[in-house]
């Protein structure tokens, strides 16, 4: 007898997509097909997509050091509710993840919580200060495959070049929050008609575009695998496209909020629309959606960034930057972009797992493979009203979304069921 039967869903396998059943036993996919026999528990999957659990390559879990915002147990619980089975934790914690023992701590905490598989990204430079290389060899040995100073861009091209050369020989990925500090430092939102109306200091698109462009040239020089975090501009999409056409190993991600919102939301001066990079113009949003559809942008990444109410229930300019996203990212992408099942799972599971080097996640279902699975109903409408995160800084609470997670399995065990 199987432990669990996922019955009648549209199942994504290496052979394609078909309506069938999936049986789970001993944490693995025991069988795919019809008439699979008895199971301890059955989940009706009619009308839903069944595929590999979602993989987020941009999550701020805030532990260690900022547990008033989130910890690994609460963040991964939110992830499970959003259909995620694997996360890449961002290293801008306190202390930052610049050494092997810190990276191991993050994975160990996640292992204890049993909500999702978590690997930390490692810092590129010590203390994310952009000066001295982090302990890249030790981090690599601790399982780190993606290196980034995240919220702090490595500004010094020479430091970045050396780090890229080093990561290239390890076989890892350099990932950048690509923003020019001088052009962006004084800004709070996109520089445009809305910032002008509000008298708020803006961040021009060129703050992103210049750094993406520089980084791509350095990636060309060093042959490193380079990943651009949270694209926000149309020009950024074009730069990534050109790099790919040149055959460079360049990948990119986009967040749900940059797909759904533009700077017009900031007229409310609600701090839940403050993020970095900022929400830009409708033409940028359209380019990001098109880029994701065409696969120029490889990945949807949440940039789940919890902040406590005391950090958000303040004037816009005094608030912390970022919003939470794990629980509704899939719904937002599904509703806004409207990808078919194959491309949807590619962008939110398969591609991020491939880039992050997660071998037991983000694979089309196969008999014998690990039971890391999501059941997602693409047509269900719902309005989020609460969160499992420790923080509720989300512009999606109270907004109707399309598509909802029905169940999430981590190693064959339900971590979320509707």
């Amino acid at each position: 007898m199987h432990d669990l039967l996922l019955k009648g869903g549209s199942v994504l396998t290496h052979e394609g997509i078909s309506v069938t059943d999936v049986a789970i036993a001993n944490g693995r996919v025991a069988a795919i097909g019809s008439d699979l026999g008895e199971a301890g528990e059955t989940i009706e999957c009619g009308g839903a997509w069944v595929g590999p659990g979602f993989v987020d390559m941009h999550t701020h879990l805030r532990e260690p050091g900022q547990e008033w915002k989130e910890n690994i147990a609460s963040g991964t619980a939110a992830a499970a509710a959003g259909g995620y089975t694997a996360l890449l934790a961002m290293p801008n914690t306190d202390p930052p993840i610049d050494s092997a023992h810190l990276a191991r701590y993050v994975s160990d905490q996640a292992f204890r919580a049993r909500n999702a598989y978590v690997v930390s990204a490692g810092c590129l430079t010590m203390e994310r200060a952009g000066e001295r290389m982090a302990h890249l060899d030790e981090l690599w040995d601790a399982g780190v495959r993606i290196f980034t100073d995240d919220g702090d861009t490595v500004q010094n091209a020479s430091v970045l070049r050396a780090a890229m050369e080093y990561v290239a020989q390890l076989g890892g990925v350099v990932s950048q929050h690509a923003v020019d500090r001088d052009l962006s430092a004084a800004g709070f939102m996109h520089e445009g008609s809305i910032s002008s109306r509000l008298g708020m200091q803006g961040i021009p698109r060129e703050a992103d575009d210049l750094t993406i462009s520089r980084d791509i040239e350095l990636a060309r020089l060093t042959a490193v695998r380079y990943h651009v975090q949270h694209l926000s501009t149309a020009r950024g999409v074009a730069l990534v496209k050109a790099a790919k056409e040149d055959g460079l190993p360049v990948t990119a991600e986009v967040t749900p909020h940059h797909l759904m919102f533009d700077h017009g939301e900031v007229l409310s001066m609600d701090a839940n629309y403050r993020m970095t990079p900022p929400l830009r113009e409708p033409s940028d949003t359209a380019a990001l959606i098109e880029g994701l559809r065409r696969g120029i942008i490889d990945v949807v990444a949440t940039d789940h960034a919890p902040h406590a109410a005391v950090e958000k229930d303040v004037p816009f300019e005094q608030s912390m930057s970022g919003v939470t996203g794990l629980e509704w990212a899939a719904s937002v992408v599904n509703g806004v972009v409207g990808l078919d099942q194959h491309d949807f799972f590619d962008r939110i599971s398969i591609a991020p797992a491939r880039i992050a080097g997660f071998t037991d996640h983000g694979q089309p279902l196969a008999e014998g493979a690990a039971g890391n699975i999501v059941v997602f109903d693409p047509d269900k409408r719902w309005t989020p009203s609460s969160t499992r995160s420790r923080s509720n800084n989300s512009p999606y609470l109270g907004r109707e979304l399309t598509g909802k997670v029905r169940a999430t399995l981590l190693d064959g065990v339900l971590t979320y069921a509707e």
């Binding site: 002008s196 109306r197 008298g199 004037p315 005094q318």
Partner: protein, 305 residues
């Protein structure tokens, strides 16, 4: 009208009612006993998170002329320096039983947050570079007293419009009242999307000086020393300052205004500032009357003056 946060969405009739009311209060202020009992028993709090003398004094004078009590809050001497949040400060002051709060804050939108958190009227006394609506009212009142109406007037606003809440408030109030507004300054001090505003733009003060009725000079932020937005204060004064030479080219009835505090010798020459056609002190006087009108309107007092 529950709050006064911005001039952007004030319609012409509301603006005119406020100005009419202010005219009445301006007359009250000329009486031997310049005081009416309209808001007796009400308390107005000023919360100024930015250094300010004139605006705060003007609001306090306005409240007292309406017989309201005033309490004032300054971050330097308060629990803010002990780390209290804006929300808690606002809730605390509200809990003391105040009826209206005037707030000035460095952050855009802070008065909107207060309006959300509290159940009493909020008056924006200036938020970041965003809005300063009572300044616009007193400016329009001053112009109306001089010219009878703003309809058809040409007003040049000169200087750092990009970082000016005064300009943002004046542009909407003045154009709603029928004036034509020209923004004058170097590109680094102008809004980056002037086409989205109900204004025209010039980089050359001399080309518009002879056709305007009002030259509204904005304060140059000398503490920035120009930094990287224009070459030097001297060059600014030469290109955009109200020099005696430029003053002499104005139409005979044209006037000069300034929200203060002035930098004599930079945006306005020493002597022009004291000329009869420089309305700077009238603006200050009218500030009290305009703020009386706002407090009166929001606190719904009886006008038995």
């Amino acid at each position: 009208m529950n709050h006064l946060l911005s001039t952007e969405h004030l319609d012409r009739s509301t603006l005119e009612e406020l100005l009419d009311e202010a005219e009445g209060f301006a007359e009250v202020l000329t009486r031997p006993i310049p005081k009416v009992p309209a808001l007796r028993g009400k308390t107005v709090a000023t919360m100024f998170f930015e250094p300010s003398t004139r605006t705060r004094l003007s609001f306090e004078k306005a409240a007292k002329a309406l017989s309201a009590d005033t309490v004032s809050f300054s971050p330097g001497t308060s629990a803010i320096s002990k780390g209290e949040s804006l929300k808690d400060t606002a809730l605390t002051i509200r809990a003391m039983g105040v009826d209206l709060i005037v707030v000035r804050h460095t952050a855009t939108g802070a008065p909107w947050r207060l309006a959300e958190w509290l159940d009493i009227p909020i008056v924006n006394g200036g938020d970041g570079a965003h809005q300063h609506p009572t300044q616009a009212l007193l400016d329009c009142l001053t112009i109306r007293q001089r010219f009878g109406s703003l309809d058809g007037l040409k007003i040049a606003i000169v200087g750092d419009i990009k970082h000016s809440r005064v300009a943002r408030s004046d542009i909407f109030a003045m154009t709603t009242l029928g004036a034509e507004v020209i923004l004058v300054g170097p590109p680094t001090l102008l809004p980056l999307d002037p086409e989205a505003w109900p204004v025209s733009v010039s980089h050359d003060l001399d080309s518009v000086i002879e056709e305007v009725d009002v030259v509204y000079l904005l304060r140059v932020q000398t503490e920035r020393g120009g930094a990287s937005v224009f070459p030097s204060l001297a060059e600014y004064a030469t290109r955009f300052g109200m020099t005696p030479e430029r003053f002499s080219r104005l139409k005979p009835e044209a006037v000069v205004m300034h929200p203060g505090p002035m930098n004599r010798g930079v945006e306005i020459s020493y002597d022009v500032a004291d000329d009869e056609r420089a309305l700077i002190l009238e603006q200050v006087t009218n500030g009290v009357a305009a703020r009386m009108a706002v407090l009166f309107r929001l606190l719904g007092g009886e006008h038995d003056a």
